[in-house]
Symmetry: C2
Subunit: 339 residues, 2 copies
DNA sequence: GTGAAAGCGCTAACAA
DNA sequence: TTGTTAGCGCTTTCAC
């Protein structure tokens, strides 16, 4: 591949002049500029960004670290991040931690070597603290998205898990449900804690009994939630509704319910956090707390770039993007006659 | 951030020795190695891969260029590519062309500057040829995935669109369908052409009439396919089944059918290419030709890396991964009584 | 087993 | 408006 020197020779100028043409970083005679541009085109020259990064000490590379690339919440977020990064002149490296802090650490080390300018970070859980400290120690700016980590001051773009859970619960209670099970995510993930918190708080608010056997913890990932549902279905008194902590958990629950011959919503109502856009097209079915996932990505990248450029206030900021409750067929009024 | 020289000073050796420790690229005394490793740890040293790339003329970076990051076919493919890349010691940059050759070109130019070692390339269409030629001119190895481009010899990992379409059509015909509509993708995408071809060939095979008004072209993306369906629903004689060229097209079709009060499969059957894993959990519904998307990514990266390392045969290779037909509820026997 | 010198492709800083 | 020099952090080459 041709270098800046090849271009310089061909245009009969110095490398410095070519550099100025490429970057618009100094005065260049119109006629000279034309010659240089001509030479670049003829040689199919593309500047080597490694070399540039080495001297400029910036790569214009950001990283988006998410925990599950198959979850539509994160892919839509990724779209938002990508669009914003492009608009601001940054490239984006995607990393997928698979909800695993060890894999997350490997990626962080890779990113440190890559010299990314900043990281948009969806932590796999509270254990991510070590990894985040590593970034901070090296002076790499980061913005937390979707989940937060205790004992860490930093920029954040979060949803409102408490509020969303509360609204979903209010909806169920309004519709006559009194025995509501909660299938929550891992305790080491902040959104799981907050959603459980919202569940509990709303029950208390209505003086409803809190039955620990109705609260079951599972993974956030798609896959078999068999044992979890087994536990639930073995209860003496069965719930009339399920509040699931995210979209994949809800899918897993419904799948298991089906296996056991339960119909949603006839036999049991189901509501959850996060929408599934695809599904909504096929059959508007699940009642959900939909989060503006695309905006998570956009705001995240904007905050990150402001932090990198130093145009942000020195204080850390938190942006909260509230969910929207969408009521569909999966939740029904328990007193209404079945159609 | 500390450099190799900082480590060298701390360990009382030269930079060269540190380099040898990092890369295992030469003999180092056990005791010296320990001192160097100690120093690296104490300084939180991570080698600058830009500097390394500059001299080694390899970045160990691959790019995965796909056309739609929200399509589960591609996200699963991405997982496969990511896992394989990691295993082989490569980093992966995701790019999303959005089915747009212009955006695709911008990304290619960016990748040229980034000095990626190779590109896993799902072309936006036949117009990608220019972009691919650019890569070839610069000597960057690439592997085409999912779609091919006419007049270009290169490594490829493809599905078998003809076969999948044929099998889906056979399934419909076996179940008594005679008037089958085809909602196909853009003509400039190879898979759309092949699927249409499979549709036509199977009709001919069974001496069934080919009615051009039953063949409608639309986009591969999720979104409203209103006008397309409008055309279909205005036909004199209506089809009893629809063959949709991909998952998103099928979703769009079903959505529109619903709007017009048509039920699937009671009023009309629908089959399509590519599965939707999420959906399958909620309600095993769509009859599909499922492609092994994860393997597309794995094989693609493997081929690419072999090409980069020069361990591949000099001849270009094509891997074909056939689809699997999964029959579900969206297609029914037209003569069977409704339940 | 270890180090010194040179250079990868580019740009900052200064000089002309 | 243009060019020269030096150096970013690393590895290759060759010498010891």
């Amino acid at each position: 591949m041709p270098t800046i020197l090849d271009v310089a020779r061909k245009a009969n100028v110095s490398a410095m002049t070519v550099s100025r043409v490429i970057n618009g970083s100094g005065p260049v005679n119109e006629e000279t500029r034309r010659r240089v541009e001509q030479a670049m085109k003829e040689l199919d020259y593309y500047p080597n960004s490694n070399a540039r990064s080495l001297v400029k000490k910036e790569t214009r590379l950001l990283s988006l670290l998410i925990t599950d690339i198959t979850n539509p919440f994160y892919t839509t977020l990724a779209r938002g991040a990508e669009d914003a990064a492009k608009r601001l002149g940054y490239r984006l490296i995607f990393c997928n931690s698979d909800e695993d802090p060890a894999k997350e650490k490997e990626y962080i080390e890779m990113l440190l070597s890559t010299q990314v300018d900043g990281v948009l970070f969806a932590p796999s859980g509270d254990d991510s603290l070590k990894n985040l400290r590593l970034l901070r120690k090296q002076g790499i700016p980061f913005v937390l998205i979707d989940r937060e980590v205790p004992n860490l001051e930093c920029d954040k773009v979060l949803g409102d898990s408490m509020l969303g859970a509360h609204k979903l619960m209010e909806h169920l209670i309004e519709n006559g449900h009194r025995r509501i099970a909660c299938i929550t995510g891992p305790k080491h993930i902040s959104t799981a804690r907050d959603r459980l918190q919202g569940y509990l708080a709303t029950l208390k608010l209505h003086d409803l009994e809190i039955d620990p056997s109705m609260i079951i913890e599972t993974e956030y990932t798609l896959g078999s939630h068999q044992e979890v549902m087994q536990k639930l279905l073995e209860l003496q008194t069965l719930p009339t509704a399920i509040f699931a902590a995210n979209n994949f958990v809800a899918l897993g629950a419904i799948k298991e319910l089906r296996k056991h011959g339960w119909k949603v919503p006839e036999d049991i109502s189901v509501v959850c956090f996060d929408d599934l856009d695809l599904l909504q097209d096929l059959d508007p079915f699940l009642t959900v707390a939909k989060q503006p996932s695309y905006d998570f990505g956009v705001f995240g990248v904007q905050m990150l770039v402001e932090r990198i450029l130093g145009t942000a206030t020195s204080n850390f900021r938190t942006i909260v993007l509230p969910p929207e409750i969408i009521i569909r067929r999966s939740s029904r009024n328990i007193n209404a006659a079945l159609e």
